[in-house]
């Protein structure tokens, strides 16, 4: 008696070819069920991509602006009265060893800025007038998009520098023509317009005038309302602790210290929480897509019983039939996954472009997304493939 016959082996190429053959003959159905997967993956990739891009933009801003900026503002006294920062606050802060730069602005709450004298006084445009110190740009990180910052000797005269939003609201698009605006009851010449300031957005709506000009023309009392402090990167926490007592040794509780980069990061976290919700929606879409793949595969097995029978007659083992349908399901999902990745990347890129962000799709998201589709393909295809493999050759050949 001769040795027992051994089943043939399929090469990996044959396995792929046989799996793909089933897809080629039903293109519309394959497209639709792959689309289900693609939508799920695209949603997840886009959510992760957009959130990462926004994070990258934040990192870029923080890089540009630094996380070592601290602001000092007057708080309320223990009997709930508004307080003021002492005049010597700036000098005291500058003497802290790790402080690299210190500057201040003073808000002039009763002074408003207008395009000209004909504007109704109530139409303030939500602009705020500040007295700004000459070293403010270096400390906060301001740079002019047009013109320049206040400097001596013009800072003693009625000249103004506008924040980005303020310039837009006042209709000033440049300083070349030396436009004039009305601040309080005086005409001020605009000498500069600033770029947007992400770390201190209220400065975007600011109209800056010189410290001495404010005193001369606008009745400014000389008390700073916000002191900006740059410290060494590794000393931010200590300086933050030390600031209240430095500014007001007698009443440190009347001094508010904050770190604007923390506020930006907090804003980011809120946006991420929203992203988590969308991510969950994407996962649901993916699940539904997986069910669609199972459905397609179950129908495929039903329709192709005679093909299964033929393959068994040609010598295919149960395992080879199982593998064929599993590979078909994997290819179907992979097709959807690749399509979804592509759509997700395009959506992320498009959205980032409109926001002027760097487009970032993290590698872990693409690899994870693709792995998820393969996992879904395997799970979705398992039941139909097992059903196909369980058919006896005669059952399969009989059913048409």
């Amino acid at each position: 008696m001769s040795a027992p016959p051994r089943p043939g082996r399929l090469s990996p190429g044959d396995v792929l070819r046989v799996g793909a053959a089933g897809l080629r003959s039903r293109r519309l159905r394959v497209f639709l069920s792959a689309l289900g997967i693609a939508i799920g993956i695209a949603a997840m990739i886009a959510v992760v991509g957009i959130s990462s891009s926004s994070q990258a933009e934040l990192d870029r801003q923080l890089d540009d602006l630094g996380t070592n900026l601290l602001t000092v503002e007057p708080g309320r006294s223990s009997d709930d009265k508004p307080t003021q920062l002492p005049d010597e606050a700036l000098g005291m802060i500058a003497r802290i060893a790790s402080v690299e730069a210190v500057s201040a602005v003073a808000r002039l709450p009763d002074v408003h800025a207008y395009r000209n004298e004909h504007v109704h006084p109530a139409q303030t445009g939500s602009l705020t007038v500040y007295a700004g110190r000459l070293d403010l740009p270096e400390t906060v990180g301001l740079s002019p998009v047009s013109g320049r910052w206040l400097s001596l000797p013009t800072a003693d005269f009625p000249t103004a520098v506008l924040g980005w939003t303020a310039a837009q609201r006042l209709g000033i698009d440049g300083t070349a023509a030396q436009p004039q605006i009305v601040v309080g009851s005086h005409r001020f010449t605009v000498v500069g317009v600033l770029r947007p300031v992400p770390l201190a957005e209220d400065l975007d709506r600011a109209v800056f005038v010189g410290w001495s000009a404010a005193a001369a023309y606008l009745g400014f009392d000389g008390h700073a309302t916000t002191v900006y402090t740059r410290t060494a990167e590794d000393a931010v926490v200590e300086v933050r602790m030390a600031l209240p007592r430095t500014v007001k040794p007698g009443a440190p509780n009347e001094v508010l210290v904050s770190r604007p980069s923390d506020a930006l990061a907090a804003k980011m976290i809120t946006e991420n929480a929203f992203g988590g919700l969308l991510l969950g929606l994407g996962a649901v879409a993916l699940l539904v897509g997986g069910i669609g793949v199972t459905n397609t595969m179950v129908i495929s097995v039903l329709e192709r019983r005679s093909e299964i029978g033929l393959r068994r007659a040609l010598g295919a083992t149960r395992g080879q039939i199982l593998l064929q349908f599993l590979v078909e399901s994997l290819l179907l999902s992979a097709l959807g996954g690749l399509g979804g990745l592509l759509i997700g990347v395009v959506v992320t890129g498009g959205y980032a472009a409109t926001q002027d962000w760097p487009a970032v799709v993290p590698l872990w998201a693409t690899v994870g997304g693709f792995t998820a589709t393969l996992l879904i393909g395997a799970v979705a295809g398992l039941y139909p493939a097992v059903r196909a493999a369980r058919l006896t050759p005669t059952e399969a050949l009989a059913g048409i």
Binding site: S2, P7, S25, G315, T394
Partner: protein, 237 residues
């Protein structure tokens, strides 16, 4: 040794239908046999048993010397791949798959490299007279041509045993004639051919006829003077 040896074989289906009720049948290498019977006679069950697509309820089935009962499902698959070529009434050609690829698939489960499969598909198609139709798809072919493609797929692996289930059942008489001629040629070249049919005229053209009724062999007659191929070449296999 015989390529097919059935000894007291029965087949009872779930529900108690006894399709084969004790059949003993030997088919030698190189024979050409018609298994003939009405529908419901049990001849299709017999085909499934000879083709190792099904296992007997009792009795012994030996194909190519292997006792089917002793083989696992995997080993049976290997036996089918190496020993048996099938031709079905419905052709079983997948729509949209070109003739050459369909024929090459006859060797898919025989551990033959893809390039070699295609080369041998060309040879097999030449053999059935379709060498000029390599790249046609099934819907572009006539019924007779389709069945010749199916025959090419069955013979590409050069199996010692070719099982044909109503091979002319879906064909007009001229196409049927071509297919029968082809099977006769194959037999002349040494392949054992077993044709299952209900068509007595067709059966009469084969040198040995096994008539089945009610799950039993009621007649087994040979054309006098016809010597099985294996006997002629000295049972080389």
């Amino acid at each position: 040794m015989n390529v097919v040896e059935l000894t007291d074989v029965t087949k009872t289906y779930p529900g108690g239908v006894r399709a084969v009720r004790g059949v003993s049948l030997d088919i030698g290498y190189g024979e050409a046999v018609a298994v003939v019977g009405r529908s419901g006679s049990g001849k299709s069950s017999l085909l499934n048993l000879i083709g190792t697509l099904d296992r007997p309820s009792s009795g012994q089935v030996r194909i190519g010397g292997h006792d089917v009962a002793a083989l696992s499902d995997r080993q049976l698959s290997g036996l089918r791949a190496a020993t048996i070529g099938f031709v079905f009434q419905q052709f079983h050609l997948t729509p949209g798959v070109a003739v050459r690829a369909a024929v090459a698939d006859g060797l898919l489960y025989s551990s033959v490299a893809a390039r070699e499969r295609l080369r041998r598909a060309d040879t097999a198609l030449e053999r059935v007279g379709l060498g000029h139709r390599l790249h046609h798809r099934p819907h572009e072919l006539s019924g007779g041509e389709r069945q010749r493609v199916a025959i090419a797929r069955a013979l590409i692996g050069d199996p010692p045993l070719l099982l044909a289930d109503e091979p002319t059942g879906n064909l007009d008489s001229a196409s049927g004639e071509t297919v029968l001629g082809l099977l006769t040629e194959l037999n002349a070249a040494g392949t054992t051919v077993v044709v299952i049919t209900h068509d007595r005229e067709l059966a009469a053209r084969l040198p040995r006829r096994v008539e089945v009724a009610d799950g039993l062999i009621v007649r087994d007659e040979r054309e006098p003077g016809v010597v099985p191929f294996a006997a002629r070449i000295g049972a080389a296999r």
